[in-house]
C-alpha cells in the first residue's frame, strides 16, 4: 500500500504534524488487551454498582425503571439499524426514515400535539430548546419557568439561554399551584414552562394558565418526565399547550445511569412554529416511480445549511433510542399503554398507603401518577443512605435537586416493576430507619 501511495513509511504520511508535537513512543496508557481481559475488568466495575433489578427500587425524579420487552433490544441490535448513519441517502435509508416518521406520529398522538420532530438528546435539552424556540416565534425575551419543573431542566435551559437575549425567571418551587407562574406573565413574556406531573409528582391542569398566557400572547410549554403518565392523564395538547417536551426514557430505553435517553419534542402545526423547530424532521414524499417514501426535510433550519443562522446547533439526535421508543410503543399500542399506566398508578397508590401509614410520615401530594413526595421526620438524604445500607433503593431526597432546601422531603416512584413484597420491604425498612 505504501508503494502505491509512493511513500516509504507510515511516518511519511504524518509529516505535516509539527515536529514538536510528534510523539516518539506510546502514550502512557495500558496496551491492548484481549476480549476476555476487558470483559473481566469491566464486569468488576459493573459489579460495584447495585442494579435496580437487584433491590426493592423506588428511585425516579426524571428517570424511571420500567420493564422493556425483549423484542425491543433484539430489534435495535439489528445491524441495519445499529450501524447505519443519519439517513442522508434516503434511497438506502427507508428503514430509519419510516421508523422516524412513525415515531413523530406516535409522539404527536401521545402528546395531543400536531407534529413532532425526530427526537432530541433528552428531555432537559428538549426543554431548553423549546424555550429558545418560543422566544424566536414570539420575538419576546422573557421566559417564566415554574419552580416545580425538574431542576436539571431549569438549569439546562438557563445554560442554553445564558448568552442569548432570553431571560429566564423561575418561580419558587414550594407552592402546589401555578399562581406564581401566572402572576409573572406579562406582555413581554415569550413562554411559560410548566411540568405535569411535576418534580414532586403533582398533576396540574394547564387550561387556566394556557388561557391567561395566550391572552398575553405568550406560549405554553408543557414538560413531562414520565411519558407513561400520558396513558392515563390528559395530554398537554388538549390543555392548550403550544409546545410539549419531555423525556421518553420510560418507553423502551432503560435507566442507563442517566443516558442516552430520548427527548420528545412536539408542537402545533403552524408554519411559524415548524420553521423555528430545532432538530431533524422526517417527511413523506414520493420517488421517481411515484411510490411513497420518506426523506429528511426542512433542513434549511439546520446548522449544516444555515450555519450561524440555524435554529439550533443540534446535529446528532437520539436515533437508536427513538427507534427503541417506537418499537416499545408499537408493542404496547393504546391498550397496552393504558394498562401499563394504570398499573403504575395503582402500584403508586398502594405504596402511598403503605408509607403514609408509617407514624411520622406524611404523603404531601393531593394528586400523583406514579411518583409522590413524602415529608419525613428526619433528613431524607440520611434516610436514603440508611435504606441503601439495608438493600433498599428508596427514592431521591428533594435536597439532591434543591441543595439546601426541602431537607426532610423524599421523592419516591413506583412502577409496574414493583411487587407487593417490594412495597412491604420498603415500608418496613423505612419505619426501621426513622
Amino acid at each position: 500500500m505504501l508503494d502505491a501511495i509512493g511513500v516509504a513509511s507510515i511516518d511519511d504520511l504524518f509529516t505535516d504534524v509539527p515536529e514538536a508535537a510528534r510523539l516518539d513512543g506510546l502514550i502512557d496508557l495500558p496496551t491492548r488487551q484481549t476480549e476476555l481481559q476487558v470483559e473481566r475488568a469491566m464486569s468488576a466495575m459493573a459489579s460495584r454498582n447495585v442494579a435496580a433489578s437487584h433491590a426493592p427500587f423506588f428511585v425516579g425524579a426524571g428517570a424511571y425503571k420500567h420493564h422493556v420487552p425483549a423484542t425491543v433490544d433484539h430489534l435495535i441490535q439489528r445491524s441495519e439499524f445499529l450501524t447505519a448513519y443519519t439517513p442522508y441517502q434516503p434511497e438506502i435509508s427507508q428503514g430509519t426514515l419510516q421508523t422516524l416518521f412513525e415515531f413523530q406520529t406516535q409522539v404527536a398522538l401521545l402528546t395531543g400535539m400536531d407534529v413532532a420532530n425526530a427526537s432530541m438528546y433528552d428531555g432537559s435539552t428538549a426543554c431548553a430548546e423549546a424555550v429558545m424556540m418560543a422566544a424566536r416565534v414570539t420575538r419576546r425575551t422573557k421566559a417564566v419557568m415554574a419552580g416545580s419543573v425538574h431542576p436539571h431542566y431549569v438549569e439546562a435551559s438557563k445554560t442554553l439561554a445564558k448568552y442569548s437575549d432570553v431571560a429566564i425567571t423561575v418561580t419558587d418551587a414550594a407552592p402546589a399551584d401555578l399562581d406564581a407562574v401566572i402572576a409573572e406573565i406579562d406582555d413581554t413574556t415569550a413562554c411559560v414552562v410548566v411540568q405535569t406531573p411535576d418534580i414532586f409528582g403533582r398533576l396540574h391542569d394547564l387550561r387556566e394558565i394556557s388561557r391567561i398566557a395566550h391572552e398575553k400572547g405568550a406560549l405554553v410549554i408543557a414538560v413531562f418526565t414520565e411519558a407513561v403518565s400520558l396513558g392515563l392523564v390528559e395530554a398537554p395538547g388538549h390543555m392548550g399547550a403550544d409546545i410539549a417536551v419531555g423525556e421518553g426514557q420510560s418507553i423502551g430505553v432503560g435507566l442507563n445511569f442517566g443516558g442516552p435517553y430520548v427527548g420528545l419534542f412536539a408542537c402545533k402545526d403552524d408554519r411559524r412554529f415548524i420553521r423555528q423547530m430545532p432538530g431533524r424532521l422526517a417527511g413523506e414524499t414520493v420517488d421517481a416511480d411515484g411510490r411513497r417514501g420518506y426523506v429528511l426535510t426542512l433542513s434549511t433550519r439546520e446548522q449544516h445549511i444555515r450555519r450561524d443562522k440555524a435554529t439550533s446547533n443540534i446535529c446528532t439526535n437520539s436515533g437508536l433510542c427513538a427507534l427503541a421508543w417506537t418499537i416499545h410503543m408499537t408493542l404496547l399500542g393504546e391498550k397496552g399503554l393504558t394498562t401499563l399506566a394504570r398499573l403504575n398508578h395503582e402500584t403508586a397508590c398502594e405504596l402511598a398507603d403503605a408509607l403514609g401509614s408509617i407514624p411520622g410520615v406524611e404523603v404531601v401530594n393531593d394528586s400523583f401518577f406514579n411518583e409522590f413526595t413524602l415529608l419525613l421526620p428526619k433528613n431524607a438524604d440520611q434516610v436514603v443512605n440508611e435504606l441503601a445500607h439495608v438493600g433498599v433503593l428508596g427514592g431521591v431526597p428533594a435536597s439532591r435537586l434543591y441543595p439546601g432546601r426541602f431537607e426532610n422531603y423524599l421523592i419516591v416512584a413506583a412502577t409496574e416493576t414493583n411487587t407487593p413484597e417490594d412495597i412491604a420491604v420498603f415500608a418496613k425498612a423505612l419505619a426501621g430507619v426513622l
Binding site: Y88, Q89, E91, T297, Q303, D308, L393
Partner: protein, 524 residues
C-alpha cells in the same frame, strides 16, 4: 426400469419470459417487501406486551384523567418483529459494506462494546441512586476521563455533553465564561474557516459570539495572511477542525495557536477528526484550549441511524475552572463522588448542560474500545485510517480529481473536475454508487471545494475490500467520461426506492401520518 415421473421441474423452461412483470401485485419485490406504516396495520385493541389486569382502584389523579382516546395502534409481537425487520432491510449499514461518509467515521462497531454496555451493573442503574450504590459507575467515568485527558494531554474533561455539537457548546461556553471572568467583554468575534462544519458557526452564535469566516489557501488549509489580518482586540478565539474537513493536517497549527493566544483569544479545536491522530498526536501539544471528542466516531460507539452520540470536551488549564457540572472526583479514601451543584464545585462552572451525568451507555462502550486497543492499538487505528485514505487517493487520482495535492490524513477529498462536460454531477455519481452496493461518500461538503466528494474509509477496511471499492469507482468514473450518462441520471435503480422528491417534501410538508378523511367521516 422403475421411473418416478412426478416432482418439480428442474430445468429452466426454454423461451422464458424475462420482462413485463416489473410491477408486482403486492408492491413487494421479492425479498424487498413492501411495508405499510403501523398506523395502516395495527389497531387500538392489539397489544404485544404481557401485562396483568389492573385492579380497578380509585384513581388519585386530581381530576386529570385523559378524556379522549390517543389513537395509538398496537401490533402483536410477531407482527412487530416482522414490521421492523422488514424495515431494517431497507437500510444500508456498516455491517453490510464500506460506508465511506467523510467526516462521519463509519468504522466497525465491535460487539463487545454492546455486551458490556448491557451488563445490569451499567444498564440498569439509576443516575440518582445513593453514591455508595454506584461506585463502579463513578469509577468508570473517572477512568474514561483519565484516558481522554491522557490521549489529548489536557488537564480537564467535561463528560456530560451529549453529542459533538453539544461538546462544541461546552467548549465555547467555557471560553465565553473565561473571557467574561477576565473582564474581556469586548471580545465577541470568533474566527471560523469557511470549510468548517455547520455546527461551528451555529455554536458560536449560541454562545453570544459573532462569526467571521477565514478563507482557505490553495493547499486547502487556513490562509495565514487572511487569518493574521483578522486578529484584533475584539477577537474571542478561533474554531478550527484539525485534521480539517478537507482531510488535511493544518501545518501551521502551532503558529495559529500562538497567534490567537497572543491576540488574547482561545483556540477551540473541533475534534470530529481526532480518529486520524489518536495515539500519535496529542492536541494539548498543539496549543488547543478546548476540544470535543465524538465517542461515536473515534471510539466506535454505534451511530444508530443518527445518534445517540457523546461529546466529552477536554479543557486547558485556563478553561478548566469553568467546566460544567456534574463531574466525578476521587476521594481521599479511594472512593468516588459526584459534584452535582455549582456551589459545591471548586471552580466557577458555567452551568449544567443536561439532566444527570452524560451518556453513560456511550462511556461504557468507548472505554471498552479503548481498553481493547490500548495505547498501541489506538496509535495503529490512526495510522491505518490514514494509510487507507491515502491508498484510495493514490489509486483513484488517475481517473478522479483530488481537490488538493499531496498526501491526506484519514479522508480523501475529490472535486468534480473529472466530471466536467460529462453531464454527470456529484449527486448522480453518488447515486450510481448505491446501485453498485456502496453507500456514497459525503458529498457537497466541505463547501470550499466544488462538487466535493469526501471519502473516509476508516481503518477497519481490509486492503482487498478497498481494492474492490476502488475498482468500482474507477469503472464509474470511466463510464461517466465515456458518455454513459443515463446510468447515472437514472440511479439508483436497484435500491428499495428510486430518487425521492425532496422539493415536494419541503413545499408541502407531511410530517406525520393522519387518518384518511373518509375513515374519519365514516366514524362520525
Amino acid at each position: 426400469m422403475g421411473m418416478n415421473t412426478q416432482g418439480r421441474p428442474t430445468r429452466m423452461a426454454e423461451n422464458i419470459a424475462t420482462g413485463g412483470y416489473a410491477d408486482t401485485i403486492s408492491g413487494s419485490r421479492g425479498l424487498d417487501q413492501a411495508e405499510p406504516l403501523i398506523f395502516e396495520r395495527g389497531d387500538m385493541d392489539r397489544c404485544g406486551v404481557d401485562l396483568p389486569d389492573p385492579k380497578g382502584l380509585k384513581t388519585r389523579l386530581g381530576g386529570q384523567e385523559r378524556k379522549a382516546p390517543i389513537g395509538l395502534p398496537g401490533l402483536a409481537e410477531p407482527e412487530t418483529m416482522r414490521h421492523y425487520v422488514r424495515l431494517s432491510r431497507k437500510n444500508y449499514a456498516i455491517d453490510l459494506g464500506l460506508y465511506p461518509l467523510g467526516s462521519c467515521t463509519m468504522k466497525h462497531n465491535p460487539r463487545l462494546n454492546e455486551k458490556i454496555a448491557r451488563l445490569p451493573g451499567f444498564a440498569d442503574v439509576h443516575p440518582l441512586q445513593p453514591a455508595a450504590t454506584v461506585q463502579g459507575a463513578y469509577q468508570l467515568m473517572g477512568e474514561l476521563a483519565h484516558w481522554l485527558m491522557t490521549l489529548t494531554n489536557m488537564p480537564a474533561v467535561a463528560l456530560s455533553p451529549k453529542a459533538g455539537a453539544h461538546g462544541e457548546f461546552c467548549g465555547m461556553m467555557a471560553i465565553r465564561a473565561k473571557l467574561d471572568a477576565d473582564g474581556q467583554t469586548g471580545r465577541r468575534r470568533i474566527l471560523v474557516p469557511e470549510s468548517a462544519h455547520g455546527t461551528n458557526p451555529a455554536t458560536a452564535v449560541q454562545c453570544g459570539f459573532t462569526v467571521d469566516e477565514i478563507p482557505a489557501d490553495k493547499t486547502g488549509r487556513v490562509d495565514m495572511e487572511a487569518f493574521k489580518a483578522k486578529l484584533g482586540d475584539d477577537v474571542a478565539g478561533i474554531m478550527l477542525t484539525n485534521p480539517n474537513t478537507c482531510g488535511l493536517f493544518e501545518r501551521d497549527i502551532r503558529e495559529i495557536a500562538d497567534l490567537i493566544h497572543e491576540a488574547g483569544g482561545y483556540f477551540y479545536c473541533d475534534g470530529a477528526n481526532f480518529n486520524a491522530i489518536v495515539g500519535r498526536v496529542r492536541p494539548g501539544d498543539l496549543g488547543v484550549d478546548a476540544m470535543h471528542i465524538n465517542l461515536h466516531k473515534t471510539f466506535s460507539t454505534p451511530h444508530g441511524g443518527g445518534g445517540p452520540g457523546s461529546g466529552p470536551t477536554v479543557l486547558s488549564e485556563a478553561l478548566a475552572p469553568f467546566a460544567p457540572v456534574p463531574y466525578v472526583v476521587e476521594t481521599a479514601k479511594g472512593g468516588w463522588e459526584m459534584v452535582e451543584h455549582m456551589d459545591d464545585a471548586e471552580g466557577d462552572p458555567f452551568g449544567r448542560m443536561a439532566a444527570f451525568h452524560g451518556q453513560m451507555g456511550m462511556f461504557t462502550r468507548a472505554l471498552t474500545y479503548m481498553m481493547s486497543h490500548g495505547s498501541d492499538g489506538l496509535k495503529q487505528v490512526a495510522e491505518d485510517a490514514v494509510l487507507n485514505a491515502n491508498y484510495i487517493q493514490a489509486r483513484l487520482k488517475h481517473v478522479m480529481t483530488p481537490a488538493f495535492d499531496g498526501t491526506c490524513m484519514h479522508e480523501a477529498l475529490f472535486d468534480d473536475r473529472f466530471l466536467k462536460d460529462t453531464g454527470v454531477t456529484t449527486l448522480d455519481f453518488a447515486k450510481a454508487m448505491i446501485d453498485e452496493g456502496y453507500h456514497p461518500m459525503t458529498m457537497y461538503f466541505p463547501l470550499v471545494v466544488h462538487g466535493a466528494m469526501l471519502i473516509e474509509p476508516t481503518e477497519t477496511e481490509s486492503m482487498s475490500g478497498l481494492d474492490r471499492f476502488i475498482e468500482v469507482l474507477e469503472a464509474l468514473a470511466t463510464a461517466a467520461k465515456d458518455g454513459d450518462k443515463d446510468r447515472f441520471l437514472a440511479a439508483p435503480v436497484h435500491a428499495p426506492t428510486k430518487r425521492l422528491d425532496e422539493t415536494r417534501a419541503a413545499r408541502q410538508p407531511v410530517l406525520r401520518w393522519t387518518a384518511p378523511t373518509d375513515t374519519v367521516e365514516a366514524a362520525e
